[in-house]
Symmetry: C2
Subunit: 333 residues, 2 copies
Amino acid sequence: VLKLGIIGSTGHTNYVLNGLREHEHEVVLAGIAPGSDGENIDSLQSKAFQARYQPKAYLNGMELLDQLQPDIVAIACHFHDHARYVIEALNRGIHVIVEKPVATTLADLEKVKYAYGQSKAMLVAMFGIRYTAPFVTAYQAIQEGAIGRVRLIQAQKSYRMGDRGVPFLSRQTYGGTIPWVGIHAIDWVYWLSGESFETVYAAHSAFDNKGHGELEATAMCQFTMSNEVMASVSMDYLRPKQAPSHGDDRIRLVGTEGVLEVRDQQVQLINGREEGIQVLPLLPKRELFTDFIDQVKRVGTCMVSAEDSFYVTEIGLKAVISADEKRVVSLAN
Amino acid sequence: VLKLGIIGSTGHTNYVLNGLREHEHEVVLAGIAPGSDGENIDSLQSKAFQARYQPKAYLNGMELLDQLQPDIVAIACHFHDHARYVIEALNRGIHVIVEKPVATTLADLEKVKYAYGQSKAMLVAMFGIRYTAPFVTAYQAIQEGAIGRVRLIQAQKSYRMGDRGVPFLSRQTYGGTIPWVGIHAIDWVYWLSGESFETVYAAHSAFDNKGHGELEATAMCQFTMSNEVMASVSMDYLRPKQAPSHGDDRIRLVGTEGVLEVRDQQVQLINGREEGIQVLPLLPKRELFTDFIDQVKRVGTCMVSAEDSFYVTEIGLKAVISADEKRVVSLAN
């Protein structure tokens, strides 16, 4: 039985808690701890208890790593502390599932990559939207050639602002709206196109952020990619509370043989197969946590690799530099 | 009665021919002529005859200007010849309605602006999509504060390729997909936001253009604008022939108080007025030609000014430079 610890409850711990249900015979939630100064994990604790798990509560993440010595750790504390715990875990040979972005600075990301290179442990970042039914369906269709070669992509994230906590209010703890929100759309662009990023020009603005300090309420990135593919990623926190859902995730991929869109949790396709717009039957959603457990047990592979996790984080962080410095940033390695 | 001449039949002469019907008592189509080497105006001639107009056919545009001496000339020849005829017409005090872009090079555009400054004649470019019902409705709603201040914009043009004629195949005669197709979306961004452009980073690619020479099948521009507004404009010729329509024009404007979208000839709005997505009742479409005639008669004003026509053309041409040279181009004047 694998021992699991969770550090922090600021990010999407539900990927882990929900996934855990199917693995109760092989994974036990043995410990939880706050990861960041002032981080409150009451909600994580009550969710764990509601699910009848009885994790031991540690004072902080370092104690959890040292005393619990888990096989796997999920890290979802304040975003600027992700990298620190990832490195500590990897150095101890503990497998890591970490909230995106993996790091909030390029310097921290380099340290994470070094630690990963030295470690035998596995790592995945929570690019969990890949695992939802519309995105699994879109990926499969594109792999099967539904739109030919991808040539142009527009992707969108749009959220309600609501009340964001203190870690969102400063760049130092938050990292920026591009690496927190936009990073998902950057991930889709990368994953669905199969192309690599060449340049980015980005913009972001903290105007009209409803009192949320340095948090950028709007941001936009334009990427040039290999094979003269181009992509735009837009993100905002201005979705009205009257909207029918919290978020409005979209992507439109224009290919040589068709156009595919994910919108309103649907997948729409236009190509030579039939006249008009086809709405694809959705494939079942998958579970990131399940895939990662299988990978740890060496019976499967995550759709999100460690390399993907690092690469997409890097692109997001370089886009922040582009937006801050108002210049094109090269993404070629 | 105003004498009207039409030079060329490569662009959207239907704005003029359709508009003319309501003005037969005050405007007479007196002459037509090809504007460019090798330009065939048979289709214009037969449309004119079908509508029971009896314009005199001139050998070329210069003869039409000199011999017919029209009050108004519509110019819609090969795109690189627009500027030449606009200048000749303005120098003769003839009012001009010209296909976009007004010019295909910045040097030509400067000459046009100079001629306009010296002339008492009026000018409008065929930014006719502003006049369609969804865009009139969107403009009105935004003016009335439906979404507060505009913060972020995504706009899209998507067309079927079909068979494009020879003038589309070389940059020299075509000007580029950004100033031919994308310019409409640039115009919407400008008109609906009320902001001015500050920088552009653009990309375009002639890959997969189905044998259309230098024509770019995909292109994309990201703009920064005044007040930290940001905008992305995407365009492609890859819309499959099985699609339910020739074109797929869209714009999404995210504001401080709501989100408005034009899509599928509809206007959707989310704001504080009611729960969920509102589909706005469409206002009636308007006629660019009618407005221009009223302007010439000094009893009205076009929604598209001469200054708008020049400015949007300039932004499109500078975006081409950005895409060609793969660098950010400043748009501040």
